[in-house]
Amino acid sequence: MKRIRTLETKDLEKSAKKGGCGECQTSCQSASKTSCSIVNQQCEQNNKKKK
């Protein structure tokens, strides 16, 4: 596409089928404590794959 460049993003629909293992970090256990940020949390499944 000449005028539109699409960035690679996670397939959320696919993740609905496989996701939800719950092993990821709770957002307020890191640097937040006063607001909520979800999208910057890491997916534990990716960490597993790295190992």
Binding site: R3, S27, S37, I38, N40
Partner: protein
């Protein structure tokens, strides 16, 4: 829904329901912006008129953009439908699993920060320290209620947790022993003001804590204005050398230099850059949580200036990164390809269900920000969650429970936002905190822009 915005010279489209991100030229930007509201013929006319001096913009080119848009719609990457609303209903019947505790190891503090939401560490109660017995019962409660979750998180919080360091050490030793027996993995973290950091604490924290959060508000005059001793003296000079040493000794283990900004430093980017200039690389800066009656509370009038600051920060981070002087900022650390799954994005932070706060006497609250408000007392670590009505209410507190979130492009980035902020602002955990939402949307815009700039550095 889509969100079209311009930032740092980029034209960016976020498709809110799929999380897709498109970097487009100005012609495609205009066409996509009009696509749903205006008939095709009308769009072609408008675009030809607007770009009449551009030889590259003709009807054939415009039709090509239309074809690309239609292809992206087919791929569910543009104007995609919300297909996740029904999933959130299942949260009601989801098994209650606890995976994280905020242990209030000390309701006492050796500082008296003027903006402290914990009422100088005491949470509007009496000064107290958690005993080992209560802490042990908390860890047992966590293990017993964690189901098949392997990773269990425990944050040593306060007040100032290092006022009760002996109990912290004993609890970590107890946790390490129990994780083997129960096939769990404890991830301990420590949030400290730094006053009591010494060689022993640093060595312990660097060995046992998966993350340490070190509170520094930035420039000396900013930090010392609010982060003061009980006698009113600023703490910057005392803690800075300790933070530097802790971070240096920490090697490649995670840490955060975490600040709070207020109405007094709406130019907070200077504070973040000050942290970076001191050599710290993992940074966080949070808006203050305060009743609007406080002079340091953020106001709606501050929002536009704060948004400019987030933009300035993002642009500066790109520049420094190019020069090899990069640093991370907590809210900009998004991974578009490998970030959290949709279940996480819908369910939010887990407050009151997966995540609970424990007071020094073992009472359970939905999170640290509800501690001290007896309307939210859920039970205790000895008897477990006895007020299940509160838990059930929080289980259903997700992005789809909030009317205002449904049409917000950022709803899958924030998970519905902070329930405590919502409650303090609107009186309802399912309400919204407008200032918080405005700032969060801006942070999402900036974080995505950084990703676009990384992909297309030459633009």
């Amino acid at each position: 829904m889509i969100h079209c915005y311009k930032s740092n010279g980029y034209n960016i489209i976020i498709d809110g329901n799929s999380g897709s991100v498109h970097s487009v030229d100005e012609v495609a930007f205009d066409i996509i912006g009009l696509y749903e509201s205006t008939p095709k013929d009308e769009i072609i006319k408008l675009i030809l008129e607007k770009y009449k001096n551009r030889p590259d913009v003709n009807e054939a080119e415009i039709n090509e953009v239309f074809a690309d848009i239609e292809e992206l719609i087919k791929q569910k990457k543009l104007f995609s439908k919300d297909i996740y609303a029904d999933i959130s209903i299942d949260f009601k019947n989801r098994q209650s699993v606890v995976k994280a505790l905020c242990l209030h190891i000390a309701h006492d503090c050796n500082l008296a920060c003027k903006y402290c939401f914990a009422g100088k560490g005491e949470y509007n109660g009496e000064r107290s320290l958690m005993s080992f017995e209560v802490g042990k019962a908390a860890l047992n409660f966590l293990i017993a209620n964690s189901g098949t979750r392997k990773n269990l998180e425990v944050d040593f919080f306060g007040g100032e947790p290092l006022l009760n360091f002996e109990v912290v050490k004993k609890l970590v030793a107890y946790g390490r022993e129990q994780e083997k027996t129960h096939n769990k993995n404890f991830r301990f973290t420590l949030t400290t003001n730094g006053i009591l950091l010494n060689d022993e604490v640093m060595e312990f924290a660097n060995r046992e804590m998966s993350n340490v959060v070190l509170s520094l508000d930035g420039r000396k005059e900013v930090h010392d204005r609010l982060r003061v001793s009980r006698g009113g003296k600023g703490s910057y000079d005392l803690i800075l050398p300790k933070f530097k040493k802790t971070v240096e000794l920490r090697g490649d283990k995670n840490y955060y230099i975490r600040g709070t900004y207020t109405h007094y430093n709406t130019d907070f980017t200077n504070d973040i850059l000050h942290m970076a200039d001191l050599g710290f690389k993992e940074l966080s800066m949070e808006p203050v949580v305060a009743p609007s009656s406080e002079p340091y509370a953020l106001t709606e009038e501050d929002v536009s200036k704060l948004c400019e600051q987030y933009e300035k920060l993002a642009v500066e981070m790109i520049k420094r990164n190019k020069k090899g002087e990069g640093f991370t900022f907590y809210h900009y650390m998004i991974d578009l390809e490998k970030g959290p799954c949709i279940i996480k994005r819908i369910s939010g932070c887990g407050v009151g269900a997966e995540y609970l706060a424990v007071t020094p006497t073992g009472e359970l609250y939905p999170c640290h920000q509800f501690v001290g408000n007896e309307d939210f007392l859920m039970g205790n670590v000895f008897d477990g969650v006895t007020n299940t009505k509160i838990r059930d209410k929080f289980k259903l507190c997700n992005v789809y429970a909030k009317e205002e979130c449904r049409d917000c492009f950022a709803h899958l980035y924030c998970g519905g936002g902070c329930a405590a902020n919502s409650f303090h602002s609107s009186g309802d955990i399912n309400g919204t905190y407008k200032i918080g939402c405005d700032l969060h949307r801006k942070r999402v815009e900036c974080a995505v822009m950084i990703k676009v700039a990384e992909e297309h550095p030459s633009d």
